[in-house]
């Protein structure tokens, strides 16, 4: 891997890393969501330092060139990320449903109690 490429990708990894830290620091990103992004930045660095690992993986999966292995891994990674988001969305949907139901139930309860109080008042 040429030096110019190494510097370029190291730069990208560094920016990603700092961005994540900043987002967590400002509490825009929850800590439990940040590790997956930090892991992505670390993976970029590892690939720069150990390019031979990518070549080894390429022969292992039988791909023609390292670039296709890299793209394949990226797509797989993004697909898994989407799946994870779908799971989280499903959980949130169920939670929003339960909260909306509870809100409606309590509102009805409160309205009926108020009506009863009005009736009891002389």
């Amino acid at each position: 891997m040429p030096l110019r490429q190494k510097i370029f990708f190291l730069g990208i990894a560094l920016v990603l890393f700092l961005l994540i830290l900043e987002l967590v620091r400002r509490r825009r990103l929850r800590v439990e969501y940040s590790w997956i992004w930090l892991a992505s930045a670390v993976t970029i660095v590892l690939l720069i330092l150990r390019y031979d690992a990518l070549i080894w993986l390429t022969t292992l999966v039988g791909a023609a060139i390292p670039t296709s292995t890299l793209f394949f891994l990226c797509i797989l990674y993004l697909a898994l990320l989407c799946l994870d988001y779908s799971v989280r969305l499903s959980t949130l949907t169920r939670e929003v449903k339960e909260l909306a139901q509870e809100l409606a139930l309590l509102r009805l309860e409160a309205a009926e109690r108020e009506r009863e109080n009005d009736r009891d008042r002389p």
Partner: protein, 236 residues
């Protein structure tokens, strides 16, 4: 003192149909408590229900049919109604069919469905829907042993255990039909069927055949989830 039966009417933008449905129910079943669940309507559904003297459960968001009746059932459970009936707000159901369903629950059933196939002359809908119903009736029979003819019926009467099942967090909350029956079978509920004279829906946004086909695919997945789901989620 609350009544013996709570009738839940899920309604989403039904202001125009609701009056006819509610007044007919009030005339035929004067002692029942009526609860209209306003499923995030943008029209005067809630106001209409209030004016007609119904109790109104106003959901702040549109949650869909299953979640709306689930909200109503949670209310029924908290108030301790022995029987809860779900009754569509679009004029499909006949209040005269409620009595036999309630009687079946009083006689010990946990979940009773109103079936259009047990009632001669009831409206049956298009061919696609009939085929869909038949498919689900067969699947339910294969998975639970229940011999039911109309597993997608929205007219249901629920006893205490039926209500508890429908109020579970993991309950299928889009269209609780065949998948709900599979869960009922796994929870060993007593499920029965009584004749019900269905009528065509008055609602313009009632499900058309295209959506019915999408429904079939969703329901097949939901059935799979119901059949393979964890036993621990089914404590009734």
């Amino acid at each position: 003192m609350s009544a013996h039966v709570l009738v839940i009417i899920p309604a989403w933008n039904e202001a125009t149909n609701l009056e006819a449905v509610v007044t007919e129910l009030q005339r035929v079943r004067p002692v029942d408590d009526l609860l209209v669940v306003d499923d995030g309507s943008t029209d005067a559904t809630a106001a209409t229900a209030q004016r007609l003297g119904c109790r109104v459960l106003e959901l702040p968001l549109h949650l869909g049919y299953g979640a709306a009746i689930q909200a109503g059932i949670k209310h029924g459970l908290r108030r301790g109604y022995p029987v809860v009936v779900t009754f569509d707000g679009d004029g499909q159901h006949d209040p005269a069919d409620v009595a036999p369903l309630v009687a079946a629950v009083d006689a010990g059933a946990d979940l009773v469905l109103g079936s259009r196939y047990e009632a001669p002359g009831a409206y049956r809908g298009t061919q696609v829907r009939q085929a869909g119903r038949h498919l689900f009736a067969q699947l339910v029979r294969a998975l639970t042993g229940f011999r039911l003819t109309d597993p997608t019926s929205g007219l249901k009467a629920l006893g205490h255990r039926g209500q508890t099942l429908f109020a579970l967090a993991r309950f299928p909350d889009r269209f609780p039909d065949a998948d709900a029956l599979v869960l009922a079978g796994r929870a060993r509920l007593r499920v029965e069927e009584r004749p019900a004279c269905m009528r065509p829906s008055r609602n313009r946004h009632s499900m058309h055949d295209g959506r019915a086909i999408a429904y079939i695919f969703n329901m097949l997945f939901s059935l799979l989830a119901a059949a393979l789901g964890r036993e621990a989620d089914l404590k009734v």
